[in-house]
Symmetry: none
Subunit: 291 residues, 2 copies
């Protein structure tokens, strides 16, 4: 184990020290560390109680944590945080300074940045369509089918997993066109097909959509900004920016859209979904670990 108490003068930034020593902490202390790093430094400038709540632990654990960092008291810790952060704000305000010695913009930062912009764009595009989409998905008289392509089927899977917890009659159309004819057979007029289709658009997904339309289903399409050909068949289209500096397009945007829609559906269903979630939780209890 490394030296417990370092000298009074913090040679390197507190942030770095926490990150470096995180492996030597106990489990609860690690939660504290990550709560701090997640909202650095302001999490540590709140009261002990609020800091503890944020880290889902108790006050004493916070104090043990800051003791292990070498501070005599919580006040000392906050002083150090304040001084360090003030110095940081004094200097050039570039956010890259915050990353510590890594003078080069750290590996994933550019990607993260791009993803964040994509989410922003998708949320903008989604907003006007959201009420109509939610209206359909919260209508328990309609069946809901989720389907996606080679990659995007994972996104469809997420929507399916979420919706299934909120309402009945949600199904996931799985990969491999074998059973698709059977899936189509059950589609009734007014049912909802949520299609996720990103480049490169797959022929079979298009075929499925055509079949669904023939059954008078309504189509909600989540696609990229280059528009899948399915857009021509869809009642509601959400366009996601998916470009990131990588060989692949990003799936993050689509998943973000799914989660925004899900949250809105929960709102729309209100208490009806609450009970269902509670029941599910109870049924699953034996399979989960404590807490």
């Amino acid at each position: 184990m490394t030296g417990v108490h370092t000298s009074l003068r913090p040679a390197q930034s507190l942030q770095d020290r926490v990150r470096r020593d995180v492996s030597t902490f106990t489990e609860a202390e690690r939660r504290v560390a990550h709560a701090l790093l997640g909202e650095y430094p302001m999490a540590g400038l709140e009261t002990v109680a609020r800091f503890a709540k944020r880290a889902e632990t108790s006050g004493p654990t916070i104090l043990r944590f800051i003791n292990r960092l070498g501070f005599e008291s919580y006040a000392d810790f906050q002083d150090a945080l304040r001084i360090e952060t003030q110095a940081r704000l004094q200097g050039p305000l570039s956010r890259y300074d915050l990353l510590g010695q890594a003078n080069a913009p750290a590996a994933g930062q550019v990607l993260a940045q791009a993803m964040r912009q994509n989410i922003e764009g998708a949320a903008r595009d989604l907003a006007p369509n959201l009420p109509a989409i939610v209206d359909r998905l919260a209508d328990l008289d309609r069946k809901v089918l989720c389907i996606g392509g080679r990659f995007s089927q994972m996104i469809a899977g997420y929507l399916h997993a979420y919706l299934r917890e909120l309402r009945p009659n949600v199904r996931l159309v799985r990969d491999g066109s074998a059973s698709w004819a059977d899936d189509l057979l059950d589609v009734a007029p007014g049912d909802i097909i949520v299609v996720f289709d990103f480049r490169r658009y797959q022929r079979d997904v298009l075929e499925f959509a055509k079949g669904a339309v023939a059954q008078q289903a309504e189509i909600i399409l989540v696609t990229d900004i280059w528009y899948s050909p399915i857009a021509a068949l869809a009642q509601h289209v959400v366009a996601c920016p998916v470009s990131i500096p990588s060989a692949f397009d990003s799936g993050v945007t689509g998943l973000a859209v799914v989660e925004i829609i899900t949250a809105a559906v929960i709102d729309a269903l209100g208490p009806r979904s609450k009970g269902r979630i509670a029941t599910l939780e109870a049924l699953r209890k034996p399979f989960n670990l404590g807490s």
Copy 2:
């Protein structure tokens, strides 16, 4: 959803407001204003007593000062300072967001904002671990297994789909413990298990991880900031902030981590992966629609 705070959110920054209104203050209050602006924002994050001493005035004057700014209590004032400064530290992009959404808090924007912060946090946590993780995943002599829980298996699926395009010997351990024993059987010392485990942690995933460790596999764990118990078994842990204002935790962060890792693996593999992608594209051509 929880009620939104009704407190008046200042359209412009606190700093600007103080600077603008400084002429309307009394003499003692002006000293307070200058003390705050001189060491902004940390002067205001200390206790009232210390703030007063710094401004060479008394406690009540401080309180009247912050009352005049429109805050009910000193705590409210500090909260506002913290939120504002945190946003400022987050970088120019986030600051822009806060201003933009002040006018019209469109549906979904708050969720989008939370997701973006989560990605930011995860990218920070990932950065130091990234080289080691990439090193393992780019080592073609090691087999790679991806596994996740009820929700996170979709994330595992994404990693699997990506990696499969880049290198051989990548497998996805599918849901339902039935075939897991068989999957474990093939695990050789030095193989890599990438585990995605978010609340609520499932017992069976933990069991699988234990089994893999027994086979001397190396574990890369992507979990939430509350740490899955698997962390105790893992060589590399990436902690993702997953809280969003919704009934469910967000899966977006985990997927973002996957894509950042993937991009880094592509870099590490270099030309070796390029050829493989090209081959795959050619093989798939018949199933895709034109461009």
